[in-house]
């Protein structure tokens, strides 16, 4: 909660900075807990309903805890043309998750993203921000086992 206060202070308690404040919390904490939202509402003098509206509108925000590792599968048009939907199917099979879901022991979250701008590497998959080389499903399953 102290950290939330620091973030709010950095943005000078301005109501118009709401999106920026939430984004900073999301980036650090990987999700937006209710206590944090209440604190933001109190400090920025913005009704909690407005905050809920913003937090559910933008895709970057999550109101539920996310896994320790995030698998991003790019489904932008360039990757789509290079077979991203089959890659997404493979990752869904291997993790047992659908895109947008997190497993029960909070290990992996699987996300569909639209274009981080690495079209030359498509179909593009990244885990925790690092490029994941595409291999056969069996090898990929081995690679996933290495994550704690």
């Amino acid at each position: 909660m102290e950290r939330v206060d620091q973030i709010i202070d950095k943005h000078e308690c301005e109501a118009s900075s709401l999106v920026q404040v939430l984004l900073a919390i999301q980036t650090e904490n990987h999700w937006l807990p209710m206590e944090a939202l209440e604190r933001v509402a109190e400090r920025l003098q913005v009704p909690l309903t407005r905050i809920q509206q913003v937090a559910t509108f933008y895709k970057a925000f999550s109101l539920v805890p996310k896994g320790r590792h995030t698998i991003n599968v790019c489904t932008g048009t360039a990757c789509y043309a290079r077979g991203a939907s089959r890659v997404l199917d493979m990752m869904q099979d291997l993790t047992g998750l659908k895109s947008g879901e997190t497993d029960l022991d909070l290990k992996f979250s699987l996300e569909k993203v639209s274009c981080p701008g690495c079209c030359a590497l498509g179909p593009y998959v990244e885990i925790d921000g690092k490029t994941q080389e595409l291999t056969t499903p069996a090898e990929m399953a081995e690679a996933l086992k290495k994550f704690e």
Binding site: E14, A15, S16, S17, L18, V19, Q20, L22, L23, Q26, V46, R50, Q53, V54, F57, Y58, K59, A60, F61, T75, G76, T77, A78, C79, Y80, A81, R82, V113, S114, C115, P116, G117, C118, C119, A120, L121, G122, Y124, E126, T131
Partner: protein, 561 residues
């Protein structure tokens, strides 16, 4: 860094920077743009730094981590100056050899050179590679030679000289006239003449006005704005300052999508450096003109690329568009006059000021002037960022620069303009790219996405892909978009699953006409375009799906073959 108080002091600084640089000194530039970064250019950079010290070359060779060179397919890319030796797909283990052979002994390492896939010939120098030879890199050019984190690098290539010219020799009205005369049109998609927009904002009543950079590049498969901001943020910033001077604004915003962390970082650094030099802030270069610039990160919403949605988002609200009875140049951000231009539009401005509107207006076609950066991606041999004069044919871009379709497959379609654009078939390849030419053909320029699709792509599935994307991105404010796109997606999904019925095409056409005419913003209005253009050029595929339950590209999995 000392603050610069006058144009004369800036020129002195420029001279002193140039005096420390020797054009003949070897300089290694390594692409550190997003794609190369993702393919381990960071590790290569560390190796180069270590190896330079290890081989005793400190001070004798310069090393620069640059932005995107454009030829992403071959990344990580290294160019060695002054000869412009071009090495591709560099791995950390190649570095010691490059330093000892190429830098010290001036020997070329054959295996790292680019091989022309047609002639099998190895090409040594960057300008001789077909990918670069056939381009006109006015805006993207400096990306390959400067360190985006260094304002001195930008000053060394003549940066901020357009700003000096504007502040010392031109009135705001003259700047607006010059931009109008250049016929520069907005590079974000709509193609509205920038000069006319500026003039409107200049004349709009109100003391407080804003200038905004639209860097919410949401079109999936397009990354030219990201590439520019990562590689040359000062050129965009210089354009923005000139625009602020011309329109009488004292506050500016960069709206950058958070999926581009490197662009966000480099823009922050650029703003800080410009402030320290006195190129931003109070009394810029002693001219009495003030401007502060802030960065606002987008939180992941395609619709925020729309002008009103973007402004609502900066205000800290959900990014929903407003009805556009009153243009943003009169009532935009916080209901005040606002000029919103795309990244690429802004970075064209210093060029126009430096070289003159007449020079600029001779490039391109009658109605589309200058160059355009395209993000050439999909089933194409040379994926990358491509800058060509307006009026270049699609065939030249795809075959001469792009190197054609890989894997011996046949070309099927090229998709331009993103989710609001359309797919053009092979017989349209001789079309010259330009705002009006593309529009007439049923597609659009958009922000410059160009996705090439080979014979294995099912056009009905492509439309399904775009409708799925847009269903998820529709903000939900207006019914034609929220419900219309959803219904279209339902029907198209049925068609791809072999459940298509007679009359589906007509129903889709009806829905498309409705959404296209009455949706609130460009997202809904443009949503039917992929469907309408594929129906125009690939009607047989729809009919094969519906009547014969057959997918001609053998791509829809639940169809009978």
């Amino acid at each position: 860094m000392a603050r610069i108080n006058s144009p004369a002091e800036l020129e002195e600084l420029r001279k002193s920077i140039l005096s420390t640089r020797d054009a003949n000194k070897p300089c290694i530039t390594l692409c550190s743009g997003s794609t190369c970064h993702a393919s381990s250019s960071k590790k290569v950079a560390v190796c180069i730094e270590e190896e330079i010290i290890k081989q005793g070359l400190s001070g004798k060779v310069d090393f620069r981590k640059t932005g995107c060179h454009g030829f992403c397919e071959m990344g990580p890319i290294m160019v060695i100056y002054p000869e412009k030796i071009f090495y591709t797909k560099i791995k950390p283990e190649d570095v010691p050899e490059i330093i000892s052979q190429t830098i010290m002994e001036k020997k070329i390492i054959e295996r790292l050179l680019y091989t022309d896939p047609g002639t099998k010939e190895k090409i040594v120098h960057e300008p001789e590679i077909p990918f670069y030879k056939n381009q006109m890199r006015l805006v993207l050019g400096p990306n390959g030679s400067i360190d985006p984190k260094s304002i001195d690098d930008y000053l060394a290539i003549g940066g901020y000289s357009a700003l000096v010219k504007v502040l010392t020799q031109m009135t705001p009205e003259q700047v607006v006239e010059e931009v109008k005369k250049s016929k520069l049109r907005g590079r974000g998609g709509a193609g509205f003449p920038a000069g006319i927009k500026w003039e409107g904002a200049r004349k709009a009543p109100g003391d407080i006005k804003y200038v905004l950079v639209n860097a919410d590049e949401g079109d999936p498969g397009a990354y030219m704005d990201g590439g520019l901001l990562e590689g040359n943020p000062h050129s965009v910033l210089e354009g923005l300052i000139i625009g602020a001077y011309a329109t009488g604004s004292h506050e500016g915003y960069f709206y950058i999508r958070h999926e581009y962390p490197m662009a966000v970082e480099n823009v922050h650094i650029a703003i800080k450096q410009a402030e320290e030099y006195g190129l931003l802030g109070k009394n810029i270069l002693g001219s009495g003109f003030d401007l502060i610039v802030k960065v606002h990160e987008g939180a992941g919403a395609y619709v925020c690329g729309e002008s009103f949605a973007l402004m609502t988002s900066i205000e800290g609200k959900p990014g929903e568009p407003r009805p556009s009875y009153i243009l943003p140049i009169f009532k935009g951000l916080w209901n005040r006059p606002s000029v919103l231009n795309n990244v690429e539009t802004w970075s064209n401005v210093p060029l126009i000021i430096n070289k003159g509107a007449d020079w600029y207006a001779q490039i391109g076609t009658e109605t589309s002037k200058g160059t355009k950066i395209f993000s050439l991606v999909g089933n194409i041999t040379n994926t990358g960022l491509v800058e060509v004069p307006m009026g270049t044919t699609l065939r030249d871009i795809i075959y001469k620069i792009g190197g054609g379709i890989p894997g011996g497959k046949k070309f099927k379609a090229v998709q331009t303009g993103g989710p609001a654009g359309g797919c053009l078939p092979e017989h349209m390849l001789d079309l010259e790219v330009g705002y009006d030419e593309l529009k007439k053909s049923g597609s659009m320029m958009g922000s410059g996405g160009m996705v090439v699709m080979d014979e294995d792509t099912c056009m009905v599935d492509v439309v399904k892909y775009y409708l799925e994307f847009l269903t998820g991105e529709s903000c939900g404010k207006c019914v034609p978009c929220r419900e219309g796109i959803r219904q279209m997606l339902k029907i198209i999904t049925n068609i791809t699953q072999g459940k298509g019925k007679e009359g589906d095409i007509e129903l889709l056409e009806e829905l498309a006409a409705l959404a296209g005419n009455v949706a609130l913003c460009g997202l809904g209005k443009g949503a039917p375009s992929p469907f309408l253009s594929t129906l125009k050029y690939f009607r047989n595929e729809y009919e094969a799906h519906i009547k014969e339950k057959r997918c001609t590209a053998l791509s829809c999995t639940s169809q009978k073959v």
